[in-house]
Amino acid sequence: MTPSDPKDAAMTHPAPPLITTSVRLSADDGVAHEPVLTLKDISVFYGGYEAVRGVDMDMAGNQITALIGPSGCGKSTVLRSLNRMNDLIPGARVAGTISYHGQNLYAREVDPIELRRRIGMVFQKPNPFPKSIYDNIAYGPRVTGMKVTSMNDLVEQALRDAALWDEVKDKLKQSALALSGGQQQRLCIARTIAVRPEVILMDEPCSALDPIATGKIEDLMINLAADYTIVIVTHNMQQAARVSHRTAFFTAEVDEAGVRHGRLVEYEDTNKLFTNPNHKRTEDYITGRFG
């Protein structure tokens, strides 16, 4: 092993600095960020199984919040409860309250369709519709019945915002499936932006992409944070360190009955969490000793 390899060095010598990628963003940027989403004592059940137990946290507006942790820790489950995607799974149930600007998301009077218009989502694997690039972007505005003066302008703007316009402007009528994986994922982000949500949830958006495509998406996320509140689930700690203002570390714990539940261990400013975590378990995870 070459000691010059920083990654390996971090694995074997858990001495500070704990994180090898410089943290680019900080939660404390001198601007007051109102919480957009507030989770109070959230537990998510699938049938009788409690997949996540007792999560309290809030996500600040125009910031990027990263959820990290080993697989099976419930980070994706929490993410999917934020725009009620869990509603689509038979038997799924959320206990506790999730407030969006003070409104309980799971209140009876809340319309999940309207909610998803405000809280968009980008998935792990790029999932463009088998339609043209143009129709992929136009889909959201069409189904939500947005009053649009010019659909062409809207499509162009969404693609520009997602840093995809220059690559696809000459082939808008071609199938989206012909794009590369990274382009498809940026198309999915553009598609989400096109309905003008306030929050964008991203579920491991780069896990199916190569490093160059990943870099482009990360740059895009940081740019989008100016206009959107972003919550990202990632299994890549370096990524969380690079792109997020605040990071929540989840892990799976076994309760007295021997059942595994996802738990939130620590939620901190990204800078703090990766340099000086409060919990031993966080430190163990980010230094690669478990997970």
Binding site: A107, R108, M146, V148, Q157, R160, R196
Partner: protein, 303 residues
């Protein structure tokens, strides 16, 4: 401000409130329309069964097990469908004996032995798919032109059974192949790794695991043969037969054909008898279908 930025501003019309649970009448209507589609199909099924039972009620008794009397128009009230029942038993038993071994063996060849990249194996596969779509009356023409006349088996039980076997062969093959495909590859590899030959692996590991799936397919194929009448119309089954078959070369009739014959008769008594025979046929088919469904549900997803 660029044109695009202007457009971006322009599209932001205030969205409807989050907490106004919108009533979407289109959604409700659409769901109702979908349910209506299924409802029509089921209403038809129920009406059909109820009507047959109602119409055949008077004749659903031991008289069904009588034979067509001579001078049938004069003694309609004593007429039954015995020769059709025994004819059906003969034909279906023979069809099972011919179609199941052939179909299962074909499926084993295609799934376990054949090299799918070879053109002749692909042709074989395509041929089976196409054969599955050939109208049943065309199989009757095959029986009429080739089996009854050229081969010279005549209008007999064996001709009917061969034709019905060929008719359901694609169904048996396709169902058996699916059952074989559902057996995980790891079981085959484990068997080969212990030094077993291909046939040892197939007969001792793969086939036992695939039997429930094959049984389901076999029952469904035979129930199709049981209800089939079109090819047999061309194969001499329509003449009123008053004797039970006693050999492969006997003349015969079957239940669906007997029903077809009775429907053509003007007397109301014969219509009732037709309805009673339909109830009998449906009960047999329903039983076979239920067995198939039970087997499928019981053995589904064991892997």
């Amino acid at each position: 401000m660029t044109a695009a930025a202007a457009a971006r501003e322009a599209v932001i019309a205030p969205p409807p409130s989050l907490t106004q649970r919108r009533i979407r009448p289109g959604e409700l209507l659409f769901r109702l329309a979908l349910q209506f589609c299924l409802l029509v199909a089921f209403a038809f099924l129920v009406a059909l069964i109820v009507f047959a039972v109602y119409k055949g009620w008077n004749r659903l008794d031991a008289r069904l097990w009588q034979n067509m009397p001579t001078g049938r128009a004069s003694r309609v009230e004593a007429a039954g469908v015995q020769s059709a029942i025994t004819g059906t038993l003969w034909v279906i038993a023979l069809t099972a004996l011919i179609s199941l071994p052939t179909g299962i063996a074909s499926a084993i060849y295609l799934e376990e032995y054949a090299d799918n990249t070879r053109w002749y194996n692909r042709l074989l596969e395509l041929n089976i798919q196409n054969l599955a779509g050939v109208p049943s009356i065309v199989f009757g023409i095959l029986g009429l032109g080739l089996i009854a006349r050229v081969i010279g088996l005549g209008f007999t039980v064996i001709t009917a059974a061969v034709v019905l076997s060929l008719l359901v062969l694609p169904t048996v093959i396709i169902a058996s192949r699916e059952a074989l495909r559902a057996v995980p590859q790891s079981i085959r590899q484990a068997s080969y790794a212990l030094g077993a030959t291909r046939w040892q692996t197939t007969s001792r590991q793969v086939l036992p695991a695939a039997i429930p799936g094959m049984a389901t397919g076999a029952i469904l194929a035979l129930s199709r043969a049981l209800g089939e009448a079109a090819p047999l119309i061309l194969l001499g089954a329509v003449t009123f037969i008053r004797f039970n078959p006693d050999s492969l070369l006997s003349t015969y009739t079957t239940l669906p054909i007997q029903i077809y014959n009775l429907i053509k008769e003007p007397q109301a008594e014969f219509q009732e008898l037709a309805a009673a025979a339909i109830v009998l046929l449906l009960v047999i088919l329903l039983l076979m279908n239920s067995v198939a469904i039970v087997i499928r549900n019981k053995f589904q997803k064991r892997w």
